[in-house]
Each structure stands twice: as structure tokens, then as C-alpha cells.
């Protein structure tokens, strides 16, 4: 995709520690995000989602692969050049309280984000505009307060304001809504929608909440044990999931309108060794699956899965109720 603002190419990362087996956290993952597009990255704890986010932010070094922002590879940049380029990708973390310097006021935190991006001093007018964008109004009531004086929801909105301050092309949000109450979740998603419409910000949204993925993303990528198991347009992945892992994820969703299927405990510590990483948990596992690692194949337009059995199967239907209005309309408005 030539319009990609952020491209992750063949990223791999293995963590090695003394006296422990190496952990292959991310294995040959490629993903692209277009301007104004939201890609949801879903998968269970330990699937490598957060490591991929940290690789994309270049907070950790990949063993292999490239991060390309607006056509420029970040891998060869060093020092100040890297820091400036990296401001085009901004993170929002799950716990906003832990990501703020507690001794800086809201004014200090936001000014630092703006000035750090190499732009001139931030005036109160610009800060007020940022705060208004995240519904912290009037600005005079917030600029001189410290993060601990704000409520959880207000801090999460401040985290969004700070991420937006350097005018990034892409925001990488790692579980920004988990633990948030549903009314706050809707409020934060509305802010992200507004920024997408107004500034064309692209999002990589890491979440284990399938409702959020369904409602907010254009595309979904499913990670399992460090690899992309499936990716494709949101509607297509939800209506016709190709990978048995995606089908299992969708089956256990507790939605208000459809009962979940019973979940049996996954086998513990099943080191898959050779073959498909999912075979110990897969109802379809065959001899081939135990021997041969499946590659990601495109099976319908833009919709790929890494499963030997995927081509021969119809999807399992949409376990989460399909949303009548889909997000592409947002970009148009």
C-alpha cells in the first residue's frame, strides 16, 4: 500500500535472559497503517502485541526488520534525528498515571510534548485548543493542576491530548481503554474518531476488547504467539473468521446480545515446537499442522490467514452483532 503512513516490515524480536529459554516475542510481522486508518491488533496476553507496539515506537530494537514512517526508515536514524522523527508516532499507554511526570502541571506536560517536537514555544491558546479537543474545558481550570488532581477519565483524556500535541501521523495505543468504565470508553473512542476525521491520524489500537475492535477499526490483525494468525477488513474477519484461533476468540466474547460459548481451559505450557504454533489448541490440527509452519496467505481480498485448513472452510458467522453503520463513513465526514 503506497499510502501507508506507518509500515512495519518483517519485524522480529527474541528476548534472551540468562538461564532461561529465549522467548520469541515477535516473529516476522509485517503491518501497514494508512492515514486516517485504524488497525486493531488483538490477541491474548503474551501474544506479542505490546512488544510489537514497542518495536514500532522504537522503544526497543528489533532483531530484524524495519519501521518506516512516511516513507522514511527509522532504523538508520540516530540521536536527535531519531528523536524528532519518532515524534511522528505517539504512544498512549494503558495506565496514564504511570506515564506522567507527577511533578509537572498539565501546562508543563503539554508544553514539553509540543516543544520537544522541535516546534516553537506553546502559547496558552494552543494548549487550550488541545485541552478543548479532549473535553477538558475550560483550560484555565486544568492548566495549573497536577496529574494526581485529575480523575482517571480526565487523566486518560490528558494522555490523548499529550499524544496529539506533536501532531503525529500515527498513534499507537496499547490497551488505552481497558479498565475504563463503558461510558468513559465511549467518550475516549469519540475523541479518537474526531482526531481521525480532523487530522487524519492513523491508529494502531492494541486491545483484547472485541467490541472495540469491531466498532472502531477498519482492519483487524490477530496475533498468536508472536505471529500474525489472521488479518483483514474488520467486517470480513468478524463475519467470516478464517483462522481457528480467531474463531475461538470470537466465540467467547460476552456481548449483551449473544451468549458466549463455553470455554475449556487451554493446555498449559504446551511448547508447540515445530509446525503451527496453534496446533496444541486447534480442533482441526492434522499431521501437516504438527510438522509445517503455515504461512500467511491471502484467501479473499485483503483477508489473509496463516492456517493450512483455512482455504477449505467457510466462516463461522459473526458472533458479535454486526454494526449497521461502519466506520468508513467517519473518514468521509
Amino acid at each position: 500500500m503506497s499510502t501507508a503512513v506507518l509500515e512495519l516490515r518483517h519485524l522480529s524480536k527474541t528476548f534472551r535472559g540468562r538461564g532461561m529459554a529465549p522467548v520469541r516475542a515477535v516473529i516476522d510481522v509485517s503491518l501497514e497503517i494508512a492515514a486516517g486508518e485504524c488497525v486493531a491488533l488483538v490477541g491474548e496476553s503474551g501474544s506479542g502485541k505490546s512488544t510489537l507496539a514497542r518495536l514500532a515506537l522504537r522503544l526497543i530494537e528489533p532483531d530484524a526488520g524495519e519501521v518506516i514512517l512516511r516513507g522514511q526508515s527509522l532504523m538508520r536514524l540516530r540521536g536527535g534525528t531519531l528523536r524528532r522523527a519518532r515524534r511522528g508516532i505517539q504512544p498512549i499507554f494503558q495506565d496514564p498515571a504511570a506515564s506522567f511526570n507527577p511533578r509537572r502541571t498539565v501546562r508543563g506536560l503539554l508544553s514539553q510534548a509540543i516543544e520537544g517536537a522541535g516546534r516553537e514555544r506553546a502559547g496558552d491558546a494552543e494548549l487550550a485548543e488541545l485541552l478543548a479537543a479532549v473535553m477538558l474545558k475550560p483550560a484555565s481550570g486544568y492548566l495549573d493542576r497536577y496529574p494526581h488532581e485529575l480523575s482517571g477519565g480526565q487523566r486518560q483524556r490528558l494522555a490523548i491530548a499529550r499524544a496529539l500535541a506533536p501532531r503525529p501521523a500515527v498513534i499507537i495505543a496499547d490497551e488505552p481503554l481497558s479498565g475504563a468504565d463503558v461510558s468513559i470508553r465511549a467518550q475516549l473512542l469519540n475523541l479518537l474518531i474526531d482526531m481521525q476525521a480532523r487530522r487524519g491520524v492513523g491508529y494502531l489500537l492494541i486491545t483484547h476488547d472485541m467490541h472495540v475492535a469491531r466498532a472502531f477499526s477498519h482492519r483487524i490483525a490477530v496475533m498468536y504467539r508472536g505471529r500474525i494468525a489472521e488479518r483483514g477488513p474488520t467486517e470480513s474477519v468478524l463475519a467470516a473468521p478464517l483462522h481457528p484461533y480467531t474463531q475461538q476468540l470470537l466465540a467467547v466474547v460476552h456481548s449483551l446480545d449473544r451468549p458466549p460459548r463455553d470455554a475449556t481451559a487451554k493446555p498449559v505450557g504446551s511448547a508447540a515446537g515445530a509446525g503451527c504454533g496453534f496446533h496444541p489448541r486447534c480442533p482441526l490440527a492434522s499431521e501437516t499442522c504438527r510438522k509445517l509452519e503455515p504461512t500467511l496467505r491471502e484467501l479473499s481480498p485483503g483477508h489473509s490467514a496463516a492456517c493450512h485448513h483455512a482455504a477449505s472452510r467457510e466462516g463461522g458467522g459473526d458472533p458479535i452483532q454486526s454494526q449497521p453503520q461502519r466506520i468508513p463513513g467517519i473518514i468521509a465526514c
Binding site: S45, V182, S183, A186, H211, H254, K266, Q321, Q323
Partner: protein, 331 residues
């Protein structure tokens, strides 16, 4: 708002008012909460942060010291025993048996330097003196579908889901008739959450145990509870059969909560949300606590607190002037 508790009630809470005192400030965390759980029944409490649901759960078992939390009014009965005035060792009469509790975060509950088997064994020795400890411990890990090898592990060696199963095994070791589960799956990812909820459903079937499930997740409550109570700002504002309340919510707060949980879209493309902020709890509400955020508010709402009134089938009740008989007569 005591629900349809047919047979004997294992838990009854009536008009409970609980305040916290801290640094000279008083917080009315629970102001007027009433609920009941019948033997064998699964009941949910839904509400957002700060609505008082966890305070309620802790006060039920006397887990908040009296100098911090005070019961100002109301009554709690467990298995027919009035525990409202309980202090100190009185609580041992009800804790574990007939009521046990599991929390969101097993790590802060489990002893980090004690093997899982020893911790389960301790619970067995304390609450089931007649049992042979190793045999009963093995039975309990089987019951929560853990491998026996887990008994030799330390808590940090287990995954979040396995730790939650350990805490559950310890609670079940007391042979409770009511299990209070306070956000038991909130810290877990969706797959593990589903496994724990499935286990809870199976255990309730096998043991005939009642459950009070506290959660902010309406989807979780929808499929795991017979009846549900919606809490807002310390008040139980709506209650009834879970399917009825969530499909036909009568209280504007419940309606807003359900729309937000479904991520329903408004015509402008935004997601439906509840505007405004939760009220401060420094003094008890005299009017409906949802008034400042309610888009259905009318003159009556500014005059008096609405009573709990019938709002639909199967014992559905709501504390809202929209369904109060006085309002119905007026229109």
C-alpha cells in the same frame, strides 16, 4: 428493592447506608442499597467505578475496619443472621461459611512466599477441621480444574488465570453457600476470562452454590446471572431478571449504560455515551442521584427522591419517576 427471593434468602441487604471517614471528610459510598440473593441463585451487581459496588461487597463480610467504614443505616442478614452490628471475631460466624469472597487481584491476596498447596491446606484446616488436608486439597484443585502439580508451585509461577483458580479453590474449601465474586475476571484477557466464567457456571451447577457477581461488564453479567441490580452513586436504581432489565431498561442510567456497552452509534457517527460526571458523594442525595445527567428529567425529579416501583415483568423494579405510580396517574 428486594427482589423475588422465593425460598430462603442466603443474603438480604435492606436500605444500607455506609460512609467512609478520611482526613475529616465523609464520603457516602453506599447510600440506599437493597438486595437479596436466594439459595442457589446467581445475582449480579453492575455499576461503574465509584458507584459503591465493591464497598458493598466488603461491608457484607466486615472486611472494612469499623473506624474507616461505618454502617449508618440499614440492615444486612446472612443466612438469616443479622450481621449489621458484628464486630471483631463475630464475623468468623459467617466468613468462609456460609459466605466466601474472591477478588479481582489474586496476587495481593495470596502469600508470595508460601506454596499454593500450603495456602489451600491452611484454608481447609481452618474451615473444614474434619477433612484430611492433603486429600481435600487435591479434591479442591481438581474441582477448579488445576493440575495437581500446581500445589507445589508458588503464586508467581502461575498465570493470572491459574492464580484466580487457586483463590477460588481456597474459597470453595470453606464449602460456602454463597460466593461473592468482586470483578473476578477484570484483570484477565478475554480467553482466560471466558474460562473462569465457564468454570464458575459449572461449579455453581455442581455445588448448588449461590453467587453474587460484581462487575462493570454488562456482557459478563448478562450470561452469568439470573437477576441483576444496577448501582449508581451508592443507590440500587434498577433490578430484576437479567434479560428483562438489560433488554428493557427502565431507568435512564441503565439505558445509557447498555447503549455504551453495546457501543451504539448516534446519527452523527459518534458512540452513545453518558454525558456529565458522577455526583460527589460528600452528602447523601435528597433527589435522584442521576438527575444532573438525565435527559428524561422532569419537574417531579426536582421535588423528591423517586421510590422503587414496578417497571416490568419478573419482578423488574426501578427507582425512577418515569415508572413511579404517582407519575403514571398524573399522565
Amino acid at each position: 428493592m428486594t427482589g423475588a427471593a422465593g425460598g430462603g434468602a442466603i443474603l438480604e441487604v435492606h436500605a444500607l447506608h455506609v460512609t467512609y471517614e478520611s482526613a475529616g471528610r465523609t464520603v457516602h459510598a453506599v447510600q440506599d442499597a437493597s438486595l437479596s440473593v436466594a439459595e442457589g441463585e446467581a445475582v449480579g451487581i453492575a455499576g461503574e467505578s465509584g458507584c459503591g459496588k465493591s464497598t458493598l461487597a466488603r461491608v457484607l463480610l466486615g472486611l472494612v475496619p469499623a473506624r474507616i467504614a461505618q454502617i449508618r443505616n440499614g440492615r444486612i442478614a446472612i443466612g438469616g443472621v443479622d450481621v449489621t452490628g458484628f464486630a471483631g471475631r463475630d464475623w468468623e460466624r459467617v466468613r468462609g461459611q456460609p459466605v466466601a469472597i474472591v477478588f479481582q487481584d489474586p496476587l495481593s491476596f495470596l502469600n508470595p512466599v508460601m506454596r499454593v498447596g500450603d495456602q489451600i491446606g491452611e484454608a481447609v484446616r481452618r474451615h473444614d477441621p474434619a477433612a484430611t488436608v492433603p486429600a481435600r486439597s487435591a479434591e479442591l484443585v481438581d474441582l477448579v480444574r488445576l493440575p495437581r502439580s500446581a500445589l507445589r508451585r508458588y503464586p508467581h509461577e502461575l498465570s493470572g488465570g491459574m492464580r484466580q483458580r487457586v483463590m477460588l479453590a481456597m474459597a470453595l474449601g470453606c464449602r460456602p453457600r454463597l460466593l461473592v465474586a468482586d470483578e473476578p475476571t477484570t484483570a484477565l484477557d478475554a480467553t482466560t476470562e471466558a474460562e473462569i466464567l465457564t468454570l464458575l457456571r459449572e461449579l455453581r451447577r455442581e455445588l448448588g452454590m449461590a453467587m453474587l457477581l460484581i462487575s462493570h461488564d454488562l456482557g459478563v453479567l448478562r450470561w452469568n446471572c439470573d437477576r441483576i441490580y444496577i448501582m449508581y452513586a451508592g443507590h440500587t436504581v434498577e433490578s430484576g431478571a437479567t434479560a428483562e432489565v438489560l433488554s428493557h431498561p427502565a431507568h435512564p442510567y441503565t439505558r445509557g449504560l447498555a447503549a455504551a456497552a453495546r457501543l451504539a452509534r448516534l446519527p452523527d457517527g459518534h458512540f452513545a455515551m453518558i454525558g456529565g460526571d458522577v455526583p460527589r458523594l460528600e452528602r447523601p442525595a435528597r433527589l435522584c442521584p442521576f438527575l444532573s445527567r438525565c435527559d428524561a428529567a422532569m419537574a417531579r425529579c426536582h421535588e423528591a427522591m423517586p421510590p422503587a416501583s414496578p417497571a416490568g415483568a419478573n419482578g423488574h423494579r426501578a427507582r425512577c419517576w418515569l415508572v413511579a405510580p404517582a407519575h403514571r396517574e398524573a399522565i
